[in-house]
């Protein structure tokens, strides 16, 4: 594949792998917890970017896939005794399949109508899960502590979950890179710029959009399983936090929508910033307001985000930062 001959992909891979392996090399549990959160957000933001940045469709319900994937994987591990790997893949495939079905229906809607539909889906799925008894209804489910024995104890299980997450993150970013540099990705970007023109030029609009939607749903489903496996319990309020959908949007916008590095940088920056705001007494309760202000400033003044701005300002770095 040509992407293995590109400087910018090697750069991306080395930086991510370096950052991701650091906690494993140093064996620090706090470092691992910090990186777990960052890698999770990088995966969520990068997968959202496939639909938001490349295709130009706003999705307010990205977290549906995270929550639903988490629920499906959790159900398989908890009630059916599956192990983490197969449960994670099943969670991801189930959400991707759901997106494929949903996408064929709702991606006939364009622009603002699609955005509205995604808000509706988020609420409908949350309300459905809260009423669905096999998933534990409103109280959710908890993993039996003994489950972790199969992974060599709870401490070992956390390291395994981290390692798997790192692999999923690399896969997500790799797919994001590959999509951006493929004919399929060009079709998506053509849809973003002018959907009618793209259709006239022979882009198969509905099919391309639906595939992009399914692809962007695959990874949050997998990450959801990992997150709730690590967490040990799952409930509707935790799994379908509309705020996390929105924060993911902020991350993508902050870093730069439509670039490979934008969501990575945006997620890392936003996480650090939020961590700081949450620990500073002045901003503790105001962090949401602050995030809103940040989002507004980006939209009004730097709509291309940090990476987009850098790429426009210094064309030389385009060779390195995709």
């Amino acid at each position: 594949m040509s992407m293995w001959r590109s400087i910018s992909w090697w750069f991306t891979l080395i930086v991510l792998l370096g950052a991701g392996l650091w906690p494993i090399a140093s064996g620090s549990a706090t470092g691992r917890e910090d990186m777990f959160l960052i890698l999770m957000l990088v995966t969520l933001a990068s997968s959202l970017n496939i639909l938001l940045g490349y295709t130009g469709y706003v999705n307010f319900g990205h977290i549906v896939f995270f929550g639903l994937g988490g629920y499906i994987g959790f159900y398989l591990m908890h009630r059916q005794g599956w192990s983490l790997g197969p449960a994670m893949i099943a969670g991801g495939l189930a959400t991707a399949a759901l997106a494929l079905v949903l996408g064929t229906i709702i991606l006939r809607l364009r622009g603002a109508y699609f955005a509205l539909a995604t808000i509706g889906i988020n609420e409908a799925v949350r309300a459905f899960v809260a009423n669905f008894e096999p998933f534990g209804g409103a109280t959710g489910m908890s993993l039996n502590f003994a489950v972790y024995q199969a992974y060599g104890g709870a401490a070992q299980a956390l390291w395994i979950a981290y390692g798997v997450l790192l692999a999923v993150t690399l896969l997500t970013v790799g797919i994001s890179f590959a999509v951006k540099h493929s004919k399929f990705g060009l079709g998506l970007m053509a849809i973003r710029e002018d959907e009618d023109a793209a259709l006239v030029l022979g882009v198969r609009g509905p099919r391309a959009k639906t595939l992009a939607y399914a692809l962007s749903a695959l990874f949050p489903g997998m990450v959801g399983v990992l997150f709730f496996f690590k967490n040990g319990n799952i409930e509707p309020g935790d799994a379908f936090r509309l705020h996390l959908s929105i924060e993911t949007l902020v991350m993508v916008m902050l870093g730069g929508q439509g670039t490979v590095w934008g969501p990575i940088l945006g997620a890392a920056l936003y996480e650090r910033l939020r961590g700081y705001l949450l620990t500073s007494p002045l901003f503790k309760s105001l962090h949401l307001a602050f995030a809103g202000m940040l989002l507004l400033l980006i939209i009004l003044f730097v709509p291309a985000g940090v990476i987009g701005w850098l790429r426009a300002r210094f064309p030389a770095i385009r060779r390195v930062i995709p």
Partner: protein, 287 residues
């Protein structure tokens, strides 16, 4: 077997609520109709309307129904401010920008509101007695809220069709460039329309606060209802919004008789998604 009296009582209860839902949705649909912007700060504005009436009542001793007038004026001003700060610059940008810009306002209001008021439920303690007609018991506050909603909706209609400013709003809605050529200051008319939309939302919030407890986050639920209603009635169509509100109110009154209450949102949103697909122009069509 549920007796017919219960059905009638629930239906009427739901319809009364539906008028107020319709009023809130009119605010959203007006803004969409005039400038093609989906105001994602709609919910927090509703919540601000609730808190406006509550604060005036609890700390200023102002009667809630008098407080509504102050809330209406404040709603108008806040809307104009939001338009000037967040919307005007991105009005011609793709949908993504206006959606996210209004959402950032949403986050700011919710963030500051949570910090100031926490999320402890508040309620306004007033009672206007009740009206008993056979099996049907009507609460005075709900009756008055529905009446106020109808009056305001009628007022909006008269304003849009009978006054010069209202005609300007409609002119800008149908073709901004042509309106500008006719000497209409379109930027100011747009700002005013946005203010009008938020005013309707704030007043609806104030009315809801007279009979339901609320927190700063309560607006979210009504925002979602407003979306459903707008799509039911046709985005951009104020009369449709009122009709949509009545339909949603009736559903909300009747569903709990046959299913647990927690299923109401599932059915509402299934309806919403189905409508978006089958008849995105709404039951009455756009505008």
């Amino acid at each position: 077997m549920v007796s017919p009296g219960v059905w009638i009582a629930s239906l009427i209860d739901g319809l009364l609520l539906g008028f107020v839902y319709g009023l809130a949705a009119m605010g959203l649909t007006l803004i969409w109709g005039v400038m093609r912007v989906i105001n994602l700060a709609h919910g927090p504005i509703i919540a601000l309307g609730m808190f406006g009436v509550y604060l005036l009542f609890a700390y200023g001793g102002v009667h809630p129904y008098l407080g509504l007038f102050a809330v209406a004026l404040l709603g108008l001003l806040v809307g104009i401010l939001i338009y000037a700060i967040a919307v005007h610059r991105v009005l011609t940008a793709p949908h993504l920008s206006t959606l996210l810009a209004t959402f950032s306002i949403n986050m700011m209001i919710i963030g500051t509101g949570t910090a100031l008021f926490t999320t402890t439920p508040r309620n306004i303690d007033i009672s206007l007695g009740r009206l008993v007609l056979g099996p049907v018991v009507l609460l005075g506050t709900r009756l008055l809220a529905a009446l106020a909603a109808v009056l305001i909706a009628a007022g909006l209609y008269v304003f849009l069709y009978r006054t010069t400013l209202g005609k300007m709003v409609r002119a800008v809605a149908s073709n901004r460039a042509a309106a500008e050529l006719m000497g209409i200051p379109s930027a100011r008319v747009l700002a005013f329309s946005f203010g009008l939309g938020t005013m309707l939302a704030a007043v609806a919030g104030g009315l809801i606060a007279t009979f339901f407890p609320f927190t700063i986050l309560s607006g979210g639920a009504y925002e979602l209802k407003s979306f459903v209603i707008c799509v039911l009635g046709g985005l951009g169509n104020p009369t449709g919004a009122l009709l949509g509100g009545l339909i949603l109110g009736a559903l909300e009154g009747l569903i709990p008789i046959v299913l647990p209450v927690s299923w109401v949102p599932v059915i509402e949103f299934l309806l919403f998604v189905l409508l978006l697909l089958l008849r995105p122009q709404g039951l009455l069509g756009e505008r």
